[in-house]
Amino acid sequence: MAYLRIVPDNTNIPFMRMRKWTFPLAAFLSIMSVVLFFTVGPNYGIDFLGGTVIEIQTKDEKPDLGKLRSTLNDLGLGDVQVQTIGADNSVLIRMGQQAGGEEAQQAAVGKIRAALEGEAEFRRIDIVGPRVSGELAFNGGLAMLVTFAAIAVYVWFRFEWQFAVGSIISAANVVVMTFGFYVVTQHEFNLTSLAAILTTIGYSLNDTVVVYDRIRETLRKYKKIPLGDLIDRAINDMLGRTVITTVTTLIALLSLYIFGGEVIQAFTLAMIFGVLAAIFSSICVAAPILIYFGLRQDQMTKKQDAEAAGKA
């Protein structure tokens, strides 16, 4: 019986020799992402900038965007953006922060409601005031740092410190590249996007730990082989698993992207990018870091001996 094998057995891809190219590539992509983040900047949504988003469904089958735009821009609320989304008669209205604090936001929405009364059904109204928007960004950043710290401690206890450093750098690389993805595509960056990025951290760490686990095992088995070859062996052994798992995750994400509806689409797209970045990063960043940080094979052996002594 022939089952589907995406990756043939006994692959022998020299990942660690390729690190001369892949590691600088990862570094370059990360640095570019950071540079773009600070020069171009992501397309921040109202969660971080404050402002208002209103989703309406017009009574007309085909809404007249031009008319809608001029009606709304005549209200004197600054620049009001109007665009269709998803279904034909769904329209998204975006409005920046109004001068004059929280009450001005409410007043502005009141004006829009009055102007569109009877012509459209209000499906969703999000108003984020100036005070909250800063906190949401701060809390998101805090959550990310605490996640990193907690995971680093766990990996350090279960492996060696080099593994902890490697898993964090690898996850940070994924996060930074996903930020870069948002800058390049100019998808709206909001709380849901932050959730997507935080999720890729989880996925990336999961993947890195699986690869590390195998590296640790191989290190203990073959004490005489050079570290680079050992790591290659471990990654090649796990390649079948890595690809199958990535495919199943991507299948789940793609179905969410295609069928999950407008609201969740940007979230899933970032996740898809994040998953791909995560496998790249586990193999091309996390693994070579062990070499760069001078992991010594006798470190593992000693620990193993100590464990064995402890058991005996």
């Binding site: 019986m1 089952y3 469904q57 209000f122 995971i151 798992t245 495919v247 789940a252 179905s255 609201v263």
Partner: protein, 533 residues
């Protein structure tokens, strides 16, 4: 690895069965579930506001507004205290920043000043930590006769805490009167209140009821001067009416009565004009004051003021001694009803402003649920198909494990009463993708061991043994990330983290017990000598 005692087997199957039973009510409508006999579990998933529609309103106590109002009334109290016999001469009394300041003329009276002002410090009871009580204000008397009275940080914090508590109570009373929605009202941080009303697509009415301070006061109107005249007497205010265009009134600053003197308020119709009005009843003390005032001021107008706006200014035709009256002011039936509710429930101790509002219409929520369901079904089928293509029969076992996993996630979410939001559905779908990973790790390992020359059964045994260590490490790291997100995140981040964390936990459970049990039973049944993976 492949041996299970009878009791272990029963326990594992019992957990899985319990999962199915607990998750089952979610497949039926609420009405169907209600008609089931009482011994069947009936609990259903709590859907987030983004799925069932609803309003999320985050209010913040307007501290600056509160402090300014409170200090202005402190100025009045100080003035009164200084006027007591023997009178104390002072100058320059007024609000300065976060406090009140004035200068005492005769320095020999300073000890007497301290004695009188000490009574105004307003102790706020013992602090939450059980330490000594805090005063609302602190008092500073300089030897040059300058007296400063103002808020301390501790006093303000304590006061804001009390305001939030009182406001939650008042809001609760108001919403109870509305009767139709069942919102949750919670404190958030030190100075915020979160009101969530599931199922409410249009929160305008709720906002009108929750956000209004509803401070009702009755004032005598000073008809002697024009509102813009510079000759206004001290102790009077100019307030606009709610008419369009607004009409200004000069009223006495000190109210005759406040909303606290009311014992009841009802929306009714005026017997002559048939317009909606709000009738009220005063407490006995309030009725006495009102009786005296109306007796003395026949033919003068008095203003009924709601939140600094004059809603009507009727002329007193005759003394009102019965302690009841009515407020008219261009009400619709609903606005009269709302005002009656507000007056019955009491006023908010401070102004609340909306700092974040999210409302989702029920239509959008239903669309999201439909899309989420379709995506979940298609995603699961596609993943299952891929697994069968890759692993054949063992792929089917993996699929059963994944389905058990999804059922267990829904069972745990139902059991915990956690909220399922749209990002939560995404969390479940991603778990489907990654739950397969544990099976992939096990199968790939078995395959490898078999290729290395072990017997089929030994390979399966070693495969499980070695893969489970990896699964543990990989999932614990993911679980840590999900838990941090749950505790620190808010909104969509939290919604995602709930199902993701539960999903990781159930994934570990199924990998360690259920999948192993299924494979063990298969081994016992087929006694495989060859592994075709």
């Amino acid at each position: 690895m492949l041996h299970f005692t009878r009791w272990k087997m029963i326990a594992i199957l019992a957990v899985v069965l319990a999962g199915f039973v607990i998750a089952l009510p979610n497949l039926f409508s609420k009405e169907t579930v209600d008609s089931w006999p009482s011994w069947v579990p009936k609990r259903q998933l709590v859907l987030g506001l983004d799925l069932q529609g609803g309003a999320y309103l985050l209010y913040e106590v307007d501290k600056q507004d509160y402090v300014q109002k409170r200090l202005r009334s402190l100025v009045g109290d100080i003035r009164k205290a200084m006027l007591e016999e023997p009178r104390i001469g002072y100058s320059g009394l007024g609000v300065q920043g976060q406090g009140v300041q004035f200068r005492v003329r005769d320095l020999s009276q300073l000890p007497e000043v301290k004695k009188r002002l000490d009574l105004l410090l307003n102790p706020l009871g013992t602090s939450a930590l059980g330490g000594p009580g805090v005063n609302e204000f602190d008092l500073e008397i300089g030897s040059d006769g300058v007296v400063k009275m103002g808020y301390t940080q501790a006093g303000l914090d304590q006061r804001v805490r009390q305001i939030v508590d009182q406001s939650i109570e008042v809001i609760g009373r108001r919403i109870d009167q509305l009767g139709t929605v069942e919102p949750s009202i919670q404190r958030q941080g030190s100075d915020r209140i979160l009101v969530e009303a599931p199922g409410l697509g249009d929160p305008e009415r709720l906002k009108a009821l929750v956000g209004q301070t509803a401070q009702l006061t009755f004032h005598l109107v000073d008809t002697g001067v024009a509102p813009d005249a510079a000759t206004r007497k001290p102790g009077t205010l100019v307030l606009d009416s709610t008419d369009t265009p607004p009409v200004p009134y000069v009223v006495e600053e000190l109210p005759l009565l406040t909303g606290e003197d009311l014992t009841d308020a009802q929306a009714t119709f005026d017997s002559r004009t048939n317009e909606p009005v709000v009738s009220f009843r005063l407490s006995s003390a309030g009725a006495r004051v009102f009786g005296e005032v109306t007796q003395k001021n026949v033919n003068r107008p008095f203003a009924i003021v709601l939140d600094d706006h004059v809603i009507s200014a009727p002329v007193i035709r005759e003394p009102i001694l019965g302690g009841s009256g009515q407020i008219s002011g261009n009400f619709s039936i609903q606005s009269a009803n709302d005002l009656a509710i507000l007056l019955r429930a009491g006023s908010l101790p401070a102004k609340l402003t909306i700092v974040e509002e999210r409302s989702i219409g029920p239509g959008l929520g239903a669309d999201s649920i439909r899309a989420g369901k379709i995506a979940a079904v298609i995603g699961t089928i596609a993943v299952c198909a891929f697994m069968v293509m890759t692993y054949g029969f063992l792929g089917w076992l993996a699929n059963i494990a994944v389905i058990v996993n999804v059922v267990l996630i829904f069972a745990v979410v139902t059991l915990l009463g956690a909220t399922l939001s749209l990002p939560g559905i995404a969390g479940v779908i991603i778990t489907v993708g990654t739950a397969v990973d544990s099976n992939v790790l096990i199968y790939e390992r078995i395959r490898e061991e078999f290729r290395a020359g072990r017997s089929a059964i030994a390979s399966i045994d070693a495969g499980f043994h070695k893969a489970l260590g990896t699964i543990l490490d990989a999932n614990v790291t993911t679980l840590i990330a999900a838990l941090v997100l749950f505790y620190l995140g808010s909104g969509p981040i939290r919604g995602f983290a709930v199902t993701h964390a539960i999903g990781v936990a159930t994934t570990m459970f199924t990998a360690f017990t259920f999948t192993r049990l299924m494979v063990a039973m298969w081994v016992r049944w087929r006694r495989p000598t060859k592994i075709t993976l």
